[in-house]
């Protein structure tokens, strides 16, 4: 028995004494929302991490049934198995902001350790030797590096997080390149890719080697090609030059769904041009959109299986790049895992609490995670939000531009303002319930009108029924505002922010951005003309500004500092550098 296993045994014994493992009643109807899946026991068993129920489900792959379900947290977002101990799982909880070490003993899961981590963890990866875990925290914009062994054996959790690297974007997908000791981090909303050096020694901010961009947004999965030195990813491209017209949507001019690969060497070399050897494949086409490509697997012997989250399908290619086969899955397939036999693929259907099991060309079966209640209007609305079939030919869903209800930060040329060739920044939908009127020009008095317009005009879809509109509106109204960056709420920034608040009032910013929503019903000419000379806008809410990367209707300002220093937005005399700092500190807390 190696040191790690002995250590874990001791910890488990201690945990059993201290902690009660809750085995759930599988017959009680409830929603689970699986978001991650791992395969264990040489492919005989599957474990899912469930977001809504905060539980882990253990499935029998052969019998295609659930063996047990155990609540371990509140809102699990990812799951990995230790490569050195198959009974040790690491999972992360976005609600409690914790990393959990879970021991599995047959059908039972027991939390043996908890570690506070940067708020809003969403993704975890573990190195091949099991020594380190990397956690992406979405709204904290950080990567935490955890020394797993030190964490499990010590009683000083603060020393377990050996590094916290800040990023200029919200991270989600992670990919470890073990032999190079590098971590690749993908932007959750936009198109940035960062590389962090994890080599031995102190990991500090200087280990952030590069941040570069591809064209597009919504990188939903990063993976390494099994046989070529390439990194592969799924994402979308929203063309700012195309219009939200039937023709541009129909022919894939407006939104394309892609499988992109980059040369690994180029990505790991901070000086290399990552576009140089990029290859792009366009998924779907006219009359067969491939909305929201998400998780995928590349078979070692050739062939790819890609989950299309928006159309509820698994897109298969046999290596010929024809992508000719589409298999139906459950609702919102987000993740695909290749079975140990390199034959079966397991598709995680997040919104239908099921796992689709597929072979090379057909569906083998579906595993239900358990009974669930009838859907509420909000739940139905959530499904609609992620349904690409609301758009013409299934090219994109609401979630394509409004990832997680937020924004992909791109520009979209739609006809909301009555003109084309005036692309405008996609606005967040978080906190939208109380920010009427809607649209950049405040055209829509009600959320219902905005919804119907977006579906019909921007997405070129069929009008929603009243029931569908009710459901979608119900869902949108549940979207809370994005949290400010945690560091912006620290004590040291408090003083700056307080002075900033005073300045905000003194400059009469509240005339347009009135609290508590920091918007108003006004439509104001702010002297920022679009391409056709339009310059009247409904002031967008200032909540969540610290999570935004560009500002104004066309994203021309790349920072809040620029809003005031470069563009002197609605101020008559220039502010001092200190004043700008104070104002920005205040705004970043909203």
């Amino acid at each position: 028995m190696n040191r790690m296993s002995l250590l874990l045994t001791m910890i488990v014994i201690q945990a059993v004494v201290q902690t009660t493992a809750l085995a759930d009643d599988l017959t009680v109807p409830h929603w689970r929302r699986p978001v991650a899946l791992v395969i264990t026991d040489d492919g005989r068993q599957l474990i899912t991490a469930n977001q809504q129920s905060g539980s882990l489900s253990l499935l029998d792959a052969q019998r295609m049934s659930v063996r047990s379900e155990t609540t371990v947290g509140k809102r699990l977002t990812d799951l990995v198995v230790s490569p050195v101990d198959k009974d040790l799982l690491l999972t992360i909880d976005e609600e409690t902001h914790e990393l959990l070490a879970v021991h599995r003993d047959d059908d039972k899961f027991t939390v043996i350790k908890r570690l506070n981590i940067s708020p809003y963890p969403v993704t975890i990866r573990i190195t091949a030797d099991g020594s380190r875990a990397c956690v992406a925290s979405l709204w904290s914009k950080t990567i935490s590096v955890v020394d797993v062994a030190r964490w499990l054996e010590s009683n000083e959790p603060s020393r377990s997080v050996v590094a916290t690297v800040r990023l200029p974007f919200s991270p989600r997908e992670l990919l470890l390149i073990d032999e190079a000791r590098k971590l690749i981090v993908a932007d959750a909303f936009g198109s940035k890719l960062a590389v962090i050096n994890l080599a031995e020694g102190i990991i500090d901010q200087s280990r952030l080697e590069s941040v570069r961009e591809i064209l597009g947004h919504g990188i939903r999965k990063l993976s390494r090609h099994p046989s070529l030195p390439r990194i592969v990813m799924t994402h979308q491209i929203l063309s700012r030059g195309a219009r939200s017209s039937l023709d541009d949507v129909h022919w894939g001019g407006l939104m394309v769904n892609c499988l992109r690969s980059l040369a690994l060497d180029d990505l790991l070399d901070p000086k290399a041009n990552i576009s140089h050897r990029t290859q792009l494949e366009f998924l779907g086409g006219p009359e067969r959109g491939a909305g929201d490509p998400a998780g995928f697997v590349i078979r070692p012997k050739g062939g790819i299986a890609i989950a299309l989250s928006g159309t509820n399908e698994l897109l298969l290619d046999d290596g010929s790049r024809s992508f000719g086969i589409r298999l139906p899955t459950g609702e919102r397939p987000t993740s695909v895992v290749l079975g140990s036999d390199d034959f079966r693929t397991y598709v995680v259907n997040t919104l239908s609490d099921s796992i689709t099991v597929a072979g090379l060309r057909d569906i083998v079966g579906t595993i239900s995670l358990g009974p669930h209640p009838d859907s509420t209007p909000t739940e139905r609305g959530e499904r609609l939000f992620h349904n690409a079939r609301l758009s013409h030919d299934g090219w994109f869903s609401c979630a394509s531009c409004h990832i997680d209800g937020h924004t992909n930060g791109q520009l979209n040329d739609n006809f909301t303002d009555g003109t084309f060739d005036t692309p405008k920044r996609v606005l967040t939908l978080r906190g939208i319930a109380d920010t009427a009127p809607y649209a950049w020009n405040g055209r829509f008095e009600t959320l219902r009108e905005q919804i119907q317009h977006s579906i019909r005009s921007t997405m070129q879809g069929e009008p929603l029924t009243d029931g569908q509109a009710d459901d979608l509106e119900a869902y949108l109204r549940t979207l809370s505002t994005v949290p400010p960056l945690p560091e912006e709420t620290s004590a040291e920034s408090r003083g700056l922010a307080e002075r900033g608040a005073v300045l905000f009032e003194k400059l009469d910013c509240a005339r347009c951005h009135k609290g508590p929503t920091f918007t108003s019903a006004r439509v104001v000419d702010v002297n920022l003309a679009d391409e056709r000379g339009g310059s009247k806008y409904n002031p967008p809410s200032l909540r969540g500004l610290s999570q935004q990367s560009s500002f104004f209707h066309d994203g021309r300002a790349n920072s809040l500092e620029d809003v005031f220093s470069k563009y002197q937005h609605q101020i008559d005399t220039a502010l001092t550098a200190e004043q700008v700092k104070e104002l920005v500190a205040f705004l970043n807390r909203l």
Binding site: E213, I214, L215, I237, S239, R240, G241, A242, R243, D247, D248, H250, W251, G252, G253, S275, T278, Q279, L280, E281, F282, G285, P286, R321, D421, E531, R532, G533
Partner: protein, 476 residues
């Protein structure tokens, strides 16, 4: 006396009819002037416009000092007033030497001098062109012609998958009636109007007997007919070939029209290019019969460029808008050679120029006539569309202007060979079994089977492009 009275009545009646026609034409002229004032890129004032038109509606004497007459026309506030004015002048014998039947054409020609392209088009034809530009032509999926011996209409070619194909019609079908109206010796334009209609509507055809089938009636439903805008060179009967038969690693594509599907089709070709090891590409934009839409041209240029400026687009009363390509491009790493000639339409010329300015492509051939004017159709009345310049495209390099000057001049071919090439090009078949673009201008008895290499062997521009392509990719 009676004879005199009758003559007077006839003369009066004739004058009455012509006055009505003058009134109608006067109304139309007013609407043309009004549309130009509202939409033309140069923002002309009405005085300038009427001054240009006045020679067509005045006497020689008035022409010497036309100011008061110009003012009279300028002061017409409505189309009817202008119509009344012209009719009155006509009755008074002051309408000038231009016959009524030619007046509109003359007015347009006079306006072209200061304003550039100016043409009237039937609204129905404009609708068809717009459908073709957006690759959503609504029809039966036929290539129209006339059977010369009988004078009846003929469907020279039936497009696979279209309504006519599904209805069991074959190439060479003779159509004697359309919705119970005989087609014999009826102008093509009229019959095409009968055949066209909104999507989902029906049309009934009487088909001439063709052994073993007797004369019969069929009812077809009008549907969307998709056509390809990106065509390849065929040297194999069944597979889609995009490479030159003598140079298999050089791709050759013709894009006779920029439509809404062009970018999508180029993306499909991009995938094929990589699979087939194509190492250089010739884009043949010569002899383009139909141009296309500048918005779609912008998307195509964007697709072919990586991060470069495309062009400056200037509309009326606005600052030029710089269009910039995004950071991805098709045919990455593959040298491009573009063929253009005098027949290259504006949209294709603009794309070629943007690629030249970005250093992305070498241009071969002759200068197109395009001078940067973007022509758009503006509604005049329910029957007519006026095509005029509503925007301008300026090149992004300050040292370059219109016309586009090729990097390598290669006059393509003799006039006879040009005609042959035009015929061959428009017989071009797409390799994957689809049919050539729908066009009412295709000769009914055109040779089928696709363009052959032998048809283009004399084409100096193509040869030059091929040689340049080969040189381009073989450089270390």
């Amino acid at each position: 006396m009676t004879g005199f009275m009758i003559s007077l009545v006839i003369a009066t009646s004739t004058v009455g009819i012509e006055a009505e026609e003058a009134q109608a034409i006067g109304r139309k002229i007013w609407m043309i002037v009004d549309a130009i004032q509202r939409h033309h890129i140069s923002n002309p004032d009405p005085g300038t416009l009427w001054r240009a038109i006045i020679p067509s509606v005045c006497t020689q004497q008035e022409l010497a000092n036309p100011d008061s007459l110009i003012a009279e026309f300028v002061q017409t506030l409505t189309a009817s007033e202008c119509g009344d004015l012209l009719a009155r002048r006509f009755e008074e014998g002051k309408s000038g030497d231009v016959p009524l039947s030619k007046l509109l054409d003359t007015v347009l020609k006079l306006l072209e001098k200061p304003l550039g392209t100016m043409s009237l088009q039937r609204a129905k034809d404009y609708v068809v062109e717009e459908q073709l530009r957006n690759n959503r032509y609504v029809g039966l999926g036929v290539q129209y012609g006339i059977d010369q011996p009988s004078g009846y209409s003929m469907f020279g070619r039936i497009l696979p998958g279209g309504s006519a194909d599904r209805g069991g019609l074959h190439d060479g079908t003779i159509v004697k009636e359309v919705d119970r109206k005989s087609t014999q010796n009826v102008p093509a334009e009229t019959v095409l109007d009968w055949l066209r209609g909104p999507i989902g509507t029906e049309v009934t055809l009487k088909i001439a007997a063709q052994l073993p089938q007797p004369e019969r009636e069929v009812t077809l439903t009008r549907g969307v007919i998709r056509t390809d805008s990106v065509l390849g060179f065929r040297h194999e009967a069944t597979s889609r070939a995009i490479s030159h038969p003598s140079h298999p690693t050089i791709g050759w594509l013709r894009i006779p029209m920029i439509s809404a599907s062009t970018l999508h089709e180029l993306r499909v070709v991009d995938g094929m290019v990589r699979q087939r090891g194509i190492r250089a590409m010739v884009l043949d934009l010569s002899m383009t019969r139909r141009g296309g839409d500048f918005h779609q041209a912008k998307l195509v240029a964007d697709g072919l460029l990586e991060g470069s400026p495309i062009w400056n687009y200037q509309e009326r009363n606005s600052q030029p808008r710089l269009e910039v390509a995004d950071g991805d491009c098709l045919f990455r790493g593959i040298p491009l050679v573009i063929i253009v000639d005098q027949e290259t339409e504006g949209v294709q010329a603009a794309i070629a120029a943007s690629l030249q300015d970005a250093g992305r492509a070498t241009i071969v051939g002759e200068s197109p006539r395009f001078r940067g004017e973007v022509s758009t159709g503006v509604v005049i009345d329910e029957d007519s569309i006026l095509n005029m310049t509503t925007a301008r495209i300026r090149r992004t390099r300050s040292d370059r202007d219109w016309p586009l000057v090729p990097d390598v001049r290669a006059v393509s071919i003799t006039e006879f060979a040009a005609q042959q090439k035009a015929m061959a090009v428009y017989r071009l078949n797409l390799i994957n079994g689809k049919s050539p673009p729908v066009s009412a201008l295709f000769p009914a008895n055109a040779n089928r089977g696709g363009i052959r290499w032998q048809d283009l062997v004399e084409d100096r521009a193509l040869n030059t492009a091929i040689n340049l392509s080969a040189a381009g990719y073989s450089k270390p």
